[in-house]
Structures are given as structure tokens and as C-alpha cells.
């Protein structure tokens, strides 16, 4: 294999791969058409035979809509990985522009003609070409495994998040429990990262991240219990449909605030980004990761978590995809999720970082109490008959 020494080499290799695939596809089409003509076989296991495709191209539309209904499309494209990864890339660019405007700067400007819109692509290309350094004495298997594991676990949680009633990968009667079971994996990945780097700063940063995540998981789960109580079901689609009259944020504002803040702590964003403190701990538990390892953890997995929490906030408290009928429900869901994402990205430019003991005391004492307070309010409202579980 020739070495890739420049961007034009990269492009030439991509063109070669595409050409090979096109030639293989062309041979397949010609061969099957031949077989059909010669042997009269009309029983090929294809929805449209290739020779029909050439003579009658409009049959392609029904094939495409049929393909869009399959599970594979859902997993890989729409509510699944491609959509979330694109959302993450745009959220990354949006964060940098937003923070720049707040700090009277301009942000990324040069990549792409208009205000740096191609900056995420430039970042990924840069990270792809950097060397992957493994520290001496580090555990090579785990060190290489963790970035992949982090992305896998982040993506696994989007399997039950519905973008609208029709577009969901796996409709589960225990959607809420599945999400929290998957989110419970993150402390393990942080711990393995910290340990396998074989270096002091990542170890301390990883232990702090572990303490923080474990402390804020309980108020997070308790604050979603209110939405479950009001809708009477653990299924995320039922929770959204129960908000058809009023959104739950009207009846559970304290829980919404607790969920938002605990989400900030779980995602390790400001003001709770002590584990990845840039100036304090030399970038904390990620210090030894370079190149695409870094890009996978800090780029993709973090923004996938941002999407997950924004989507969950929208589903639990803001009425999901319910909105006026002149626009499709998926549009309302994405709009609300984008607004929540902006609110998640904002505190980084505004608030100072919390100290570790203040952070932990807040998590264990104050937010737990606030979540329980709202559960009591919910119980009182349900018993008084103001809210009937199932339809607010």
C-alpha cells in the first residue's frame, strides 16, 4: 500500500475505492440482466430486477421509500448514528461560535467561505492525520479500547430515543430504564481510561470524574420519576403523548431544573468540567490521548451525550415532538432539542468552575433533596385529582 503523504494522495485513494465499487456493481447488474435474458430467471431475490431499473427508473422511488422503513436505515441514518453524529458536529461548531460571540471574538472564520462552517470537517481531517501516541507502560489493549467503547456506549443510548412516533429505532416499554442502564456504563469507561493511561494527571482526573458522575446519577434518575408518574408509563412515546394538553415543565419545574443541572454534571460541561479542567489538571483524564483517539472521546462521544440529554429533556419536560400541525413533528423535536442544546452550551462562557467538594456536596445533598421535593408535589397533585396519570 502506498503511503499517504498529502491530501491529494488521500483523494486519489478514495477515488480508486469508489471506482472499484462502481465496477463491481456494474458487473453485478450486467451479469444478472444476462442471466435473466438467457435463462428466463425472474426469481432473483431483489425487489426490482436490475434490467427493469435501467429501463424504468421511476420504480426506484418505491424501492427507496421501502428501504427507508427498514431497521437498518433507522439505526444508521435517521434517528440513528448519522443524524446524531451530524448533530454533534454542528453542535461543536455552534458552541465555538456562540462562546466567541459572548466573549466578543469571532470564532472559527476561515474554513469554508461563510463564517467557518466547514470547521468541523477541517478538525476531523487534522485529527485523522495526527500520530496516535500510546504512553510507555500504558495498558495497550484497554488504552485503545476505551475511545471505541465510549462512542459505542454513547450511541447505544439513542436506540430508544424517539424523534417522533414513527421514527424510533427500538420502541421499548422500559425506555427510561434502558437509558439509565446505558448511562450507568460511563463511570466504568472513565475509570478504565484513567487507569490505563499510566500517568498521574489522568488518574486523579479520572477519579474526580468518577466521583462526580456517581454523585449526580441519583438526582438525575429521581428527577425523571416525576415525568413517569404524570404519564403512568416508562415508555418514552407514551410520556410524550401524555403531554398533549400541557407540557410537564409546567407541573414539574423543579425537576426540570434538577435534570438539567445533573445532565451538565454527567456530561462534564461547565461549571462541572473539573475532570477535564484545561488549566488545572492538564486536561484531566484525557491527557494522554492524541489524534483520533482524542477526537473520538472529546469530539464525538461528548456531543452524542449532549444530544442524548437535550433529547431526553425535550421528551420528559418539553413535550417532545408535539407542536402546531403546519410543520412535521420531527421538525418540532429537532427545534426544541436545538434550543436545549444551546442552553447546555451556554454556561461554559458564563460560569466559573465548581470546586470538587462543593460539587459533591451539592450533588449528594441539595439536588437529591430538590428532586424529592418535586416528587412530593407530584404525589400531592395526583392524589388531589388535579392531574390524572396518562393525560395531563
Amino acid at each position: 500500500m502506498t503511503q499517504i503523504r498529502s491530501f491529494s494522495d488521500f483523494l486519489i485513494r478514495v477515488i480508486k475505492i469508489v471506482a472499484v465499487l462502481a465496477i463491481i456493481g456494474g458487473i453485478f447488474v450486467v451479469a444478472t440482466s444476462f442471466l435473466q435474458i438467457m435463462f428466463g430467471m425472474s426469481e432473483l431475490p431483489l425487489p426490482i430486477s436490475p434490467s427493469d431499473l435501467i429501463t424504468n427508473p421511476s420504480a426506484l422511488i418505491s424501492l427507496l421509500t421501502g428501504l427507508m422503513d427498514t431497521d437498518f436505515f433507522r439505526i444508521s441514518v435517521f434517528p440513528g448514528f448519522t443524524f446524531v453524529a451530524l448533530y454533534g458536529a454542528i453542535a461543536g461548531l455552534w458552541e465555538r461560535k456562540l462562546l466567541a460571540k459572548m466573549q466578543m471574538r469571532v470564532g472559527p472564520l476561515y474554513a469554508g467561505k461563510v463564517e467557518g462552517v466547514l470547521q468541523p470537517i477541517a478538525d476531523v481531517l487534522k485529527l485523522l492525520f495526527k500520530e496516535l501516541i500510546t504512553p510507555k507502560g500504558a495498558d495497550r489493549f484497554l488504552f485503545g479500547l476505551v475511545p471505541v467503547l465510549t462512542v459505542v456506549i454513547s450511541t447505544a443510548a439513542i436506540a430508544v430515543i424517539p424523534v417522533s412516533e414513527h421514527w424510533v429505532i427500538a420502541q421499548s416499554d422500559f425506555g427510561v430504564l434502558v437509558i439509565f442502564a446505558v448511562l450507568g456504563f460511563f463511570p466504568i469507561t472513565v475509570l478504565i481510561t484513567a487507569w490505563s493511561s499510566n500517568s498521574k494527571f489522568p488518574f486523579i482526573g479520572g477519579l474526580r470524574a468518577l466521583h462526580q458522575m456517581v454523585a449526580y446519577e441519583i438526582p438525575l434518575i429521581l428527577s425523571t420519576l416525576v415525568a413517569v408518574m404524570y404519564s403512568g408509563s416508562l415508555n418514552l412515546i407514551n410520556i410524550v403523548n401524555a403531554q398533549s394538553t400541557y407540557w410537564f415543565i409546567l407541573f414539574a419545574p423543579v425537576s426540570a431544573i434538577v435534570f438539567f443541572i445533573c445532565g451538565l454534571a454527567e456530561m462534564e460541561r461547565s461549571p462541572y468540567d473539573l475532570p477535564e479542567a484545561e488549566s488545572e489538571l492538564a486536561s484531566g483524564w484525557l491527557a494522554e490521548y492524541s489524534g483520533m483517539n482524542f477526537g473520538l472521546i472529546l469530539g464525538i462521544a461528548v456531543y452524542i451525550k449532549v444530544y442524548i440529554f437535550s433529547a431526553l429533556f425535550t421528551i420528559f419536560f418539553l413535550g417532545g415532538w408535539l407542536g402546531p400541525n403546519f410543520l412535521p413533528p420531527e421538525f418540532w423535536f429537532i427545534l426544541k432539542t436545538a434550543i436545549v442544546t444551546t442552553m447546555i452550551l451556554l454556561p461554559r462562557g458564563v460560569l466559573p468552575r465548581s470546586k470538587i467538594d462543593v460539587l459533591l456536596r451539592q450533588g449528594w445533598a441539595r439536588f437529591l433533596l430538590l428532586a424529592i421535593v418535586n416528587i412530593f408535589i407530584a404525589i400531592v397533585l395526583i392524589q388531589a385529582g388535579v392531574i390524572v396519570p396518562g393525560a395531563v
Partner: protein, 166 residues
């Protein structure tokens, strides 16, 4: 035997994963690998729960065991100073494995000879609303005792931490 369907294949794969990681948890030279293998075998058990139509239980198994207990075990193991874990020389490994296999075979044959394979569950799996109703109405002493045990554990942990510091 009948046709082998997807449930059988999933069962065999899960069984291999669970048993292999359980063996690895005991035999690994590097103790953090062993703790991680323990987490993997607990995940395999959660998979078995899903196969038995107890999805609710499987989710709680993952949240509690893998999300909390495995994390605590890995955390503790990581902070232990790594002296050499010396293997005693006189222990006869092969005899141990042989006896284990004999005992497992015996117990397995006893279970298979009974008519446990012919029993069919007559009701469908309990939904979580039924579990909740039963917990709050019929099994309420269990909840009270569990909450007392949890309070005792929390108070004990705080007392020990205070003793350590003061």
C-alpha cells in the same frame, strides 16, 4: 431436537460469554482485567434475564450490578498496591478442574433427569406495574426492612468516614 432458532443461538453465545469472563475474572494475571471480566459476566447474566422475558429485571441488573457494584470493585482494586500475587506451587490444578467438572456433571444430570424441562409457564411474564402493586400491597414488610438496611448502611458509612477524618 427440532429446529434451532435464534433464541438457542443467543443462549449459547451468552453462555459462552458469561462463563468465559467468569473464568477470566478468576484466572487473570492482571487484576483490573479480572474486575472488568466480572462486569462482563454480569452483563451476560442480564442477557439471560432478557431471554427469560424479564426485561425489567435485566435493566435493573445492568444499572445496579454493572453500573454501581462493578464500578466499586474496579475502583477498590485499582487503589490496591500491586505486589506480586504469588501462586502456591503445591496446588494440583488438573485435579481441581477434574473434580469441578465431575460435580457440575452430577448436578446437571440430576436437574436434567427431573421433569423440569416439561414444565410450561402457564401465565405470561409479570409486568412491572403488577410487580409494583405486589410490592406495595402484599410484600410491604420487605420494603420497610430494605429501607432500614439501607439507612443503616448509609449511617455506618458516614460514621466510618467521620472517624477516619476526626
Amino acid at each position: 431436537m427440532g429446529a434451532i432458532d435464534l433464541a438457542d443461538i443467543v443462549f449459547y453465545i451468552l453462555a459462552i460469554i458469561t462463563l468465559a469472563s467468569a473464568i477470566l475474572a478468576l484466572e487473570a494475571k492482571e487484576i483490573v482485567y479480572g474486575a472488568l471480566a466480572l462486569a462482563l459476566s454480569l452483563l451476560g447474566v442480564a442477557g439471560f434475564f432478557i431471554l427469560l422475558d424479564a426485561t425489567f429485571l435485566a435493566m435493573f441488573q445492568i444499572t445496579v450490578y454493572v453500573g454501581a457494584i462493578a464500578v466499586l470493585i474496579i475502583f477498590t482494586v485499582m487503589l490496591v498496591r500491586r505486589e506480586k500475587w504469588v501462586e502456591k506451587e503445591g496446588v494440583n490444578r488438573v485435579a481441581g478442574i477434574f473434580v469441578t467438572l465431575l460435580v457440575a456433571l452430577g448436578m446437571g444430570l440430576v436437574v436434567l433427569q427431573s421433569n423440569i424441562g416439561q414444565r410450561v409457564a402457564s401465565k405470561e411474564a409479570a409486568s412491572f406495574t403488577q410487580i409494583g402493586v405486589q410490592i406495595l400491597s402484599l410484600y410491604w414488610p420487605v420494603i420497610i426492612i430494605l429501607s432500614l438496611v439501607l439507612s443503616a448502611a448509609v449511617i455506618g458509612a458516614i460514621a466510618l468516614a467521620k472517624l477516619d477524618r476526626g
